[in-house]
Structures are given as structure tokens and as C-alpha cells.
């Protein structure tokens, strides 16, 4: 077994191991700061053990800036190297070669998945070896198992086994169970957005590293800010237009939202909850550029949505009433073609005619008013109608006739006194003339 040990240097939660699931499904956390990963069968995905080590250090940097890692045959030796020889990769089957030059203090780290029950026997052992004139770890290798057993019993046997790669420690597959939440308590309460963001960012780093390890996307992120003195809480929800793992986008959206907030008191505590969804799997073409524009417009739409500004693409709808014939959608609009459906069954041909398909070819103004605007009699008087007969009649079914909804319209082209070409209609129920659009 080839084991990668990551020493995060600062105490972490066991959920931090989830971030390293990218490297292998066999990952184990050992309190307070060690992550052990079985990379025997997965290191080739990263271009070998060196690539795997670099990737692990890259992930570990999100948890601790001075994290260290090493690879050896056994977890205990890997831990020793992570502590005393950072970034060392022990040759397979010859990890004892790496003990050369190490002092006896390294014995304290010869733990692996199971730490020493007590440090005192190890310290006693080290002082005893010193009295014998043994000062290097490689010299301890020369002692026989029986010698250590006679002196220290089972503890001596365990130490000998660990030194000679005989202590079998198996790393089990990690089953993630912890919720994606972060919590922070600020010793000095903060009211300024940049400072608050600086405190939130490390938590977001960890949460998004875990998301990446779990191969999940964040649908939304909830942030609760607890104020000092008053029990005021601020609930912020960041929800981009589509689930994503783009941490920068979430940070930008959060910063934007925070800057709009007026805090009653400085913030003392905060909670971050990430709501995750399965990752979308997209098979990209080999020649397709990876930096596509889709992410940029998703980012743009997410920003606009957060600012309560609606934007999107025009999606045409199957309605003959102009104001109902389109809407704004945030996904790609689908092609809309009103045409007859021709079905062939052997020698038979069936044509299913689509109602009002000719509407798509009729003249339509470039600008449409969201609501038809009633014109006064004086205004109508000033209009010059192009024809006395309507260019088009649009009406609903007879059982839906209602004056309020303006569902019986005779459309005309008209010129205003200022030379504007207008699209107006006369309601057939109440004879009122409405302005509905401009041929601008």
C-alpha cells in the first residue's frame, strides 16, 4: 500500500478529509490534523506520485498555508516523513532508507492511523536509547524484535513492526456524512465589509474544497450574521442562476450583498450553509475551448438577479396575443416555428395544420408596450389611419370574451402628427382605441 500523509499543522474537523476525495476514495482523518490517503491505485491519474503529492498540497493550502505531505509504504512512516521530511516520496518497499539522518524524536510521529496511547513510553524509550549511545532512527532499526519485547513488551513489538513496515493499517473508503456548514466567532466584532469578507473567505475556501472533493455543485449559500449587543440576525441567501462551484462568483455576489446591508451592530458570529446538488456532467468536445462564454453570462445573469433586475433571452411562446407571445428566460431560448406538422405513415400522408401560423409572417412593430395604452378621443382624431379596414383581427374564443382583458382587437397602422408609425387597435367591445407598439 502506498500512503500519502498530509499534515495540516493546525487542528481541523474530520470533515476536512472530504476535500481529498479527489485523490482517492480511501481517505481517513486522524485527529487533530492528519489526513491519510491510499494512493496505490489512483496516483497514475495525477501523473504519478509526485503529481499526486503536489495536488494534495494544493488542496491542503486551503486549510493551512504551511501544510506538508509525504508518501511512504505505511501510514506511520508517511507521518514521520510529513513531519520531518516534507514532500519526501519514499521508494516503494524501501521506506527505511528515508529514516537515515532522522533523530530519535521522529519516533513520536511513528503513529499512522493509530496514535500512541501515551507519549510517556516513547519519551522513555528515546531517553533510554540515548543512554545506550543510539541517537539516530536508522540505528534503532538494528535492534531485534525480541530485544524490544523484553524491554517494553507489546509496545516494543508495535514499535518494531512500525519501523519495519510490518504494522498493517488499512485505510477504509470515506463515506461523507457531515453537513456543508461553517461557523466563525470573531474575537473582535467586525462591521466593515472587506474585513468581514476576509474572515468569511477561509471558511468558503474549505467548504468549496469539500464540494470539489465530493464532486457536488452549490445550489445556494446561506449566510447568517449575528450582531453583537443586539440579537439582530441578518440572513443572506446567495443563489446564482444555476448550480455552480465557482467560488469567485459566490464571493462576488456575497460581497455585493453585504455592501448593500446596513448593519445595526458589528458582527460577532457567522454561519455559512452550502446547499449542494449533484454535479452536471458535460462531455466537452476535445477542440472546444474550455473558457466558454456560458460561465460569463451565467455570472452576469446571477448578478442581475441579485440586484432585482430581470434579464435573459427572448423566448417566443405559442400565443396570438402579442403581449403573451414571448417572455424572458435565463436558459437558452428554444427555437419556435409555427408550421404545419406533416406525418407520413407508409403511403398515407397526414397534415396537421397549425392554427394562426400566418401570424409569424405578419408585420410586427419593433417596440411593444407592455400594456396597451388607451388613447383619448382627441389623440385618435389626430391619427391618420393607413386604411379604413383593419390590417389584422386578433380575438380570443367566444367563451373568453371579456372587456377587461381586451381580447377582441382590430389592429391598424397609423401615423401620428409627429410622423411616428404606430400600431394601434380598436377594441370591438367598447370601441376604445389603444396604442400597442411603435414601428421604430
Amino acid at each position: 500500500m502506498r500512503t500519502l500523509c498530509i499534515n495540516l499543522k493546525t487542528a481541523q474537523e474530520s470533515s476536512s478529509a472530504e476535500a481529498f476525495l479527489i485523490l482517492s476514495p480511501r481517505v481517513q482523518f486522524r485527529f487533530p490534523q492528519f489526513i491519510f490517503v491510499d494512493v496505490e491505485s489512483t496516483s497514475h491519474f495525477f501523473g504519478g506520485e509526485k503529481g499526486c503529492l503536489e495536488k494534495a498540497l494544493h488542496i491542503a493550502a486551503k486549510f493551512s498555508p504551511d501544510a506538508a505531505a509525504a508518501i511512504a509504504d505505511t501510514p506511520s512512516a508517511a507521518q514521520v516523513f510529513a513531519r520531518w521530511r516534507p514532500s519526501y516520496i519514499a521508494p516503494a518497499g524501501k521506506e527505511q532508507e528515508g529514516f537515515r539522518g532522522l533523530g530519535l524524536d521522529a519516533l513520536k510521529d511513528l503513529e499512522g492511523l493509530q496514535p500512541w496511547a501515551q507519549k510517556k513510553p516513547v519519551e522513555h524509550m528515546i531517553s533510554f536509547f540515548h543512554t545506550l549511545g543510539v541517537h539516530g532512527l536508522e540505528d534503532v532499526l538494528n535492534f531485534r524484535m525480541n530485544s524490544l519485547r523484553e524491554r517494553w513488551g507489546d509496545f516494543g513489538v508495535l514499535l518494531w513492526n512500525r519501523l519495519h513496515s510490518q504494522d498493517a493499517q488499512v485505510i477504509s473508503p470515506l463515506i461523507p456524512r457531515d453537513p456543508l456548514v461553517g461557523y466563525g466567532y470573531l474575537d473582535d466584532p467586525i462591521g466593515a465589509v472587506p474585513l468581514l469578507m476576509a474572515r468569511l473567505r477561509p471558511h468558503l475556501d474549505i467548504l468549496f474544497a469539500r464540494l470539489a472533493g465530493l464532486s457536488r455543485y452549490a445550489q445556494k449559500v446561506d449566510v447568517i450574521l449575528y450582531c453583537e449587543y443586539s440579537d439582530k440576525k441578518y440572513f443572506l441567501t446567495i443563489e446564482p442562476v444555476s448550480p455552480t462551484r465557482d467560488q469567485v462568483l459566490y464571493e462576488d455576489l456575497l460581497e455585493k450583498k453585504l455592501s448593500q446591508l446596513t448593519l445595526e451592530n458589528p458582527v460577532r458570529e457567522f454561519e455559512i450553509s452550502v446547499f449542494d446538488v449533484p454535479e452536471k456532467i458535460q462531455q466537452l468536445d476535445f477542440f472546444e475551448p474550455r473558457d466558454n462564454t456560458e460561465d460569463r453570462w451565467r455570472r452576469l445573469i446571477s448578478f442581475a438577479r441579485q440586484a432585482d433586475c430581470e434579464m435573459g433571452f427572448l423566448q417566443m411562446e405559442a400565443s396570438h396575443f402579442p403581449e403573451q407571445s414571448f417572455r424572458l428566460v435565463t436558459d437558452w431560448p428554444e427555437d419556435f416555428k409555427a408550421s404545419d406538422v406533416i406525418e407520413r405513415q407508409e403511403d398515407a400522408l397526414q397534415i396537421k395544420s397549425v392554427y394562426a401560423k400566418g401570424l409569424s409572417a405578419s408585420p410586427r412593430p419593433s417596440l411593444l408596450l407592455p400594456q396597451p395604452q388607451p388613447l383619448s378621443a382627441a389623440e385618435v382624431q389626430k391619427l391618420r389611419f393607413v386604411s379604413s379596414l383593419p390590417s389584422e383581427r386578433i380575438e380570443s374564443s367566444w367563451w373568453q370574451i371579456s372587456v377587461q382583458e381586451l381580447r377582441n382587437r382590430d389592429y391598424y397602422f397609423a401615423l401620428s402628427q409627429h410622423g411616428q408609425l404606430l400600431w394601434v387597435f380598436k377594441d370591438r367591445i367598447n370601441s376604445q382605441v389603444y396604442l400597442h407598439g411603435y414601428f421604430d
Binding site: T293, R296, W297, R299, L300, F303, A304, A307, D308, C309, E310, M311, G312, F313, L314, Q315, M316, P322, S325, F326, L328, W332, P333, L359, S360, A361, P363, R364, P365, S366, L367, L368, L369, P370, R384, V386, S387, F413, L415, S416, H418, G419, Q420, L421, L422, G437, Y438, F439, D440
Partner: protein, 218 residues
């Protein structure tokens, strides 16, 4: 033998007129207009102002520009004013609705300014149209937008429904749409005002209504 009137200029590598490249522009598709303008269209990376009450043809010119932009498989954006862009009209003009981002009328002026900055700095769009009831943006805001446009090479077109006579030098290109003709009020390095017939831009049938041969209007 070719001799120079001023021999001291002999070493200066003069560039002939045909080697000069005009500044980048987006073609309008109206040949009279494109031939007249320095940019061979509206200026890219700069501000343009189309002025005219609704129904006089400003949106038609913008649609023609977007036609050319879409023909190059590039994107455009539009910010609605009180009236919204009608997709049935756009599909008649072969516009690709998948390449046109539409923004609903922002509620506040500040929001519009912010939105414009976001749209420009996204670097997604070749041309952005903004329909306004009135041009309320301050000069410093226009300056900021102009700088962003230059940086991201975006043509920003304001369509102002309430024409103003004052010619703002921040706009490199200003056009006024009137009943029968279109006046170019400002265009860099070109003699202005310059008039062209409205029929070249506007919906063709409008002028047919008034043509004596087939007069439809009273």
C-alpha cells in the same frame, strides 16, 4: 527621377492613404451611412446616440447593426425602456434570439448605470443598445462608460426618445431621426450635419403610404 520638395523629409516613412486602417466600427448595413462614416459603421469601443421619438426609426437602425453582429456569430444586448423589444419583429429580420440578451427596464437610474457597467465589462457583447425616455446620465457617468467601452471594445448605443439639441462631445456619433430624414449631428472627422433619407433605414412601407402613385393616406 522623383524629387522631394523638402529633402529633409526624405527619411520619414510616410504612409499612403490606402494603408491607413480606419478605427474599428460595426457596419449598419446602410451603405450611404457606412460609406460616410470614418468607422464604416458605428464606432466600436465608443458611445453613440440615436435620438428620435418612438416610431421614427432609431430601433430599426440598431436592429440592422445587430443583424451584422449576429452574422459574425457575436453577441448583442439590449436594455428595454418603457416599451419592450418585440421578438416577432426581430425574427423577421433574421436576428438570432440566442445571441441577444435583453434586460428589463431598470427601476432606478443608478441601477441602469450599474447594469451598463456590468454588461460592458463582461466583454460578451459587441454592441449594447439602451432605450431611454430621456438621457439622464451625467457627464462623469458617460465618461466612465466611454472608458469601459474603449477598454472592452464595445459599441454602446443610447436610443434617446426625447431629443436634445445640445451636441455632447462625449458621443462620437450622434444621429437624429425625424419624420422623413435622418440627420447625422456628429461624426468624428466628417462634415456634419449630414442628412439621409429616412426610407433607407426605417421600415420601407412607411414611405409607400405617402407615395402619390399608391397613396394610402388621406
Amino acid at each position: 527621377m522623383k524629387t522631394l520638395a523638402l529633402p529633409e523629409f526624405a527619411d520619414i516613412p510616410f504612409v499612403s492613404a490606402e494603408h491607413l486602417q480606419p478605427p474599428a466600427g460595426l457596419a449598419t448595413g446602410v451603405s450611404v451611412l457606412d460609406d460616410f462614416l470614418l468607422w464604416k459603421g458605428i464606432p466600436q469601443g465608443d458611445l453613440s446616440l440615436f435620438q428620435g421619438i418612438p416610431g421614427t426609426g432609431a430601433t430599426s437602425l440598431w436592429v440592422r447593426i445587430v443583424q451584422n453582429v449576429h452574422a459574425q456569430n457575436k453577441w448583442a444586448a439590449w436594455i428595454n425602456g418603457d416599451a419592450q423589444l418585440f421578438p416577432a419583429h426581430l425574427t423577421h429580420h433574421k436576428l438570432n434570439l440566442k445571441k441577444l440578451l435583453v434586460v428589463k427596464e431598470p427601476r432606478e437610474n443608478e441601477q441602469l448605470f450599474w447594469m451598463l457597467q456590468e454588461l460592458i465589462s463582461s466583454s460578451l457583447f459587441e454592441v449594447i443598445g439602451c432605450n431611454l425616455k430621456e438621457l439622464f446620465l451625467k457627464n462623469h457617468q458617460l465618461q466612465k462608460l466611454k472608458r469601459l467601452c474603449r477598454l472592452h471594445k464595445v459599441a454602446l448605443v443610447f436610443i434617446n426618445q426625447k431629443p436634445v439639441k445640445f451636441i455632447n462631445p462625449l458621443f462620437s456619433f450622434m444621429v437624429s431621426f425625424q419624420r422623413d430624414f435622418v440627420t447625422i449631428q456628429r461624426a468624428l472627422h466628417r462634415p456634419t450635419p449630414f442628412n439621409i433619407a429616412g426610407s433607407m433605414i426605417h421600415a420601407n412601407f412607411m414611405h409607400q403610404f405617402k407615395d402619390s402613385a399608391r397613396k394610402l393616406l388621406s
